[in-house]
Assembly symmetry: C2
Homo-oligomer: 412 residues x 2
C-alpha cells in the first residue's frame, strides 16, 4: 500500500480522486500496490464526500506526515503551489503535478531538488491534458535528433478560432460562447493572450532540447485582435488560423521559440485539429513527423494523465525517472526578430500598386491575396521567407500605408 495526498480539490484534483476510486482495482493491479488517498488539502470542506474525513485545510498535515510518499499538486498557479511542492520534495516526497505555470517557471529548480534526493517530479498532465506527450517525446528523443516541436496547445483559443472559421462568429461572440460552455474562464486572458500556450511550449522545449526555457524568454501574441477578415484572407490563401506554440533548434545551438496566431495550410495535420482539441507535432531526423492528438484539458482527461504519473511513481518508488533538464540561460532563446518566415501582411493604402512595389523592392517577390468585395484600398501580400526585423523595417519605411494585420505563415 502506498499513501498519497492530493492538494487542491478543484476540477483536476476532484477528477484525480474520482479516477482513483472508480478504476481502483485495475489501477492497483497495474501499480502492483494499493493506492490510498490519505489526505486531501482544500480550504473548503466536503461533508458529503465518502472521503470527508481525509480533508484538511492545513498543509502541515501533509508535509509532516511520514506515511505520505507521493503528493499530487492540483492547486494551480505559483502561490502557494511552488512553496508547497518544494517543501514536499525537501521532505522526501515525490510530487506529481498538472500545474503548467509551476513547471514552466520553476521546473529546473524543482527537478534539481528531486534529482538530489532520488525523488521524482512528474508532470505529464501539464501539457496536452490527457494526451500522452512527455513520455512519448522522451522516447522519440531517445533515437532521434528532434529538431522541432509545434502545437495547438490551448483548447480554449482553438475552440474560439474554430467557431470563427467554421461558423463565422466574430471573436467576441465566439469567446462568449466558450465562456457559456465552461471552456473559457470569466477572465480569459491566460488563454486568449497566449500565456497558457506559452507555458506549455516552454515545458516541451525544455524537455526536448535539454535546457529550461522560461516564459518571459518567449515572444507571445494572443488571438484577441483577430477578425473575421483575417479568417477570410487566410482561407482564400488556402489555410486556417491557429494559435501555435513552436520551438526549434538552430544550427548555432540556440532556440527559436514563439507563441502566435499563425496561418497553417489546410494540408497540415494540425489544420484539422478543431474545437477544444490539442495537437502536438514532433519532428525528428529519423522519425519524420509524428502528431499526438486529443483533449488538451478537461477534468477526466487531465486527471487520467495525473493518475498515470501516480501509477508510474508507485511502480518506481526510489528509482529516478527520465524527465530532467538543466537551468536555462540568457540568450539561449534567440530574439524573435531574427526568425525567418513568410508573413501575410494586410494594409490600408491609397495607392495599392505603389505599396505593393515598394514592399517587393525591400523584401522580394510577394504574392497578392484578393478576396471578394474587398475595399479597393486594401492590400494583402504574402512575403517570401525573410527575417522579421526586415519586415519591421519595410513596414516602418512605408509612409502611405497603415498596417491592419500581420500573420505568420507556419510551415507545419
Amino acid at each position: 500500500m502506498v499513501q498519497i495526498a492530493v492538494m487542491g480539490y478543484g476540477v483536476v484534483g476532484s477528477g484525480v480522486v474520482e479516477v482513483l476510486m472508480k478504476n481502483a482495482n485495475s489501477i492497483s493491479h497495474k501499480a502492483g500496490k494499493r493506492i490510498e488517498i490519505r489526505r486531501i488539502l482544500d480550504l473548503r470542506s466536503f461533508p458529503e464526500s465518502p472521503l470527508a474525513d481525509r480533508f484538511t485545510d492545513n498543509f502541515e498535515d501533509i508535509v509532516n506526515d511520514p506515511e505520505i510518499q507521493i503528493v499530487v499538486e492540483t492547486i494551480g498557479g505559483l502561490k502557494p503551489a511552488y512553496d508547497f511542492v518544494k517543501r514536499c520534495l525537501l521532505a522526501g516526497k515525490s510530487v506529481v503535478t498538472s500545474n503548467k505555470e509551476l513547471v514552466a517557471a520553476k521546473g529546473d529548480e524543482l527537478l534539481a531538488i528531486a534529482r538530489e534526493r532520488n525523488l521524482n517530479f512528474l508532470f505529464e498532465a501539464s501539457v496536452g491534458g490527457g494526451i500522452p506527450i512527455l513520455r512519448p517525446l522522451d522516447q522519440c528523443l531517445a533515437a532521434n535528433e528532434v529538431y522541432e516541436i509545434a502545437g495547438i496547445l490551448n483548447g480554449t483559443t482553438n475552440f474560439v478560432l474554430t467557431k470563427m472559421i467554421r461558423e463565422g462568429l466574430p471573436f467576441d461572440r465566439a469567446l462568449e460562447l466558450a465562456q457559456r460552455l465552461g471552456y473559457a474562464e470569466r477572465n480569459p486572458s491566460d488563454d486568449i493572450d497566449g500565456h497558457d500556450a506559452c507555458r506549455k511550449i516552454c515545458i516541451l522545449a525544455s524537455l526536448a532540447f535539454g535546457k529550461h526555457v522560461y516564459p518571459e524568454q518567449v515572444h507571445t501574441e494572443g488571438i484577441g485582435l483577430l477578425t473575421l477578415d483575417d479568417v477570410k484572407y487566410a482561407s482564400e490563401w488556402g489555410g486556417v488560423i491557429k494559435l501555435i506554440g513552436r520551438a526549434r533548434k538552430r544550427e548555432d545551438g540556440r532556440l527559436e521559440c514563439i507563441v502566435a496566431p499563425m496561418i497553417l495550410s489546410r494540408e497540415s495535420q494540425l489544420a484539422e485539429v478543431n474545437d477544444v482539441f490539442n495537437g502536438i507535432l514532433v519532428r525528428g531526423d529519423a522519425i519524420g513527423d509524428v502528431v499526438f492528438y486529443g483533449q488538451g484539458a478537461g477534468k477526466l482527461p487531465t486527471a487520467s494523465a495525473v493518475v498515470a504519473d501516480i501509477i508510474d511513481e508507485v511502480k518506481h518508488i526510489g528509482a529516478r525517472k527520465f524527465l530532467s533538464w538543466e537551468p536555462g540561460e540568457n540568450g539561449y532563446v534567440a530574439d524573435y526578430r531574427g526568425y525567418s518566415g513568410s508573413v501575410m501582411l494586410r494594409l490600408k493604402c491609397k495607392d495599392v500598386q505603389a505599396v505593393h512595389r515598394s514592399i517587393e523592392n525591400m523584401l522580394g517577390a510577394c504574392s497578392r491575396v484578393c478576396v471578394a468585395q474587398a475595399p479597393p484600398d486594401e492590400l494583402a501580400l504574402v512575403t517570401p521567407a525573410v527575417e522579421e526585423r526586415l519586415i519591421d523595417e519595410a513596414l516602418a519605411s512605408l509612409s502611405d500605408a497603415a498596417l491592419v494585420s500581420r500573420l505568420r505563415i507556419a510551415n507545419l
Copy 2:
C-alpha cells in the same frame, strides 16, 4: 558497454545500424552506456561496410556468444525468425524486434519465455513504424479503461486509397504507382489483402485487452475489390474509404475485432490521414479520444522505434518491462456476423423502389445515396445499425437484385 547483435540487414536492420552509428553520442548518453554492434547476421556479405568484420551468416555465432546481451531481430516473417528469437531468449538474451508477423502469431509464447527468465521481448516498431504507440497505449491503459482501438495501420493501402480518392486513379493504376515508388511489394498481397493491418490490430488488441488475439481469429477483408464508384458514393455520403483495423471490448468480456475497408465521415480525425501515413485512435473512459499519427513504415522511422527499444532495454537490463499479455482462447473474439453497425449497400436491380422497400421492411429505415449520372438500375442504401447477420439474411432473401458492394460505415 553493452554488446548487441542485429539479425537481418535488410531495410530495417540496416536502418538500425545507421541510426545507432549516426546518433551514437546522444544514444550512449541516453542509454547510460555505449552500445556496441558485435555481430550482424545476414546471408550476404557487405565488404564495403565499416562494420564488414562483424557480419556472419551463422546464427550460432550470435546465440552462443555470451558477450551479446541484446539481439535485434529484423529478418521478418516466421521462418527462421521465430526459432532464432526463441533460442535467443532461452539463451538469456533480451530481444527487440520489428517483426509484426512474429509478434501477432507467437507473442504470448515469447513473452512468457521472457517473463520466466526476467528478460524483455520488446516490439514497439511492430505497430505504427516510428510512431510511439505501444508505450503510450500502456500509459493510457494505466489510468483508463480503454474500450476501443482503431486505426489506419497499413501505409501501402492508405497510399493507394489516397490516390483513388484525391486523384481519381483506378485501383490498379494506384497500386502500380505505389509499386513504382517502392511503397508496395511486387507481390502486394500482404498489404492489399489486409494481412499486415490484421497483424497490427492483433498486437494492439492483445496489449490493450490483455489476452492474445491471433490473426486467424480476425475477419479480414482487403481493398482489392474497391472501385472508383465506391469512392464516389462514399464521398456523396460525406466520407472517405480507409482500410481500418478495429478492436473493441464488449460487455460480455469478448472482443470485436475486424479489418476491412470502411467509410469514415470526413469529420473523423482518421479521415485526414493520407498517403503512407498511419493514424491510431485510442478510446478510454477518462481520456476520451487520443490519436497518434506518423509514418507507419519506412527505413528510418521504423529503425528509430527499434533503437528506442534498444536504449530502453540497455537502461533496464535485468528489469522486466510492462509489455505482456496472456495466451488467447477460442471464442475470445466474437464472430463478426454478430457485430452491429451501419452499412452502405450498393445493388443492381430492375425495380429500385421495390428493393428499397423490401430492405427497409427487413432492416428498418435506410437512407438512399444518389450520385450524378448513376445508371437507373443502381441503388445505394445506408442501413441503420444492425447485426451483420441480419444484412446477410436480407441480401439472401432478395431475388431480383445483385449486390455490387457492401461497405461498413465506421463510427470513428
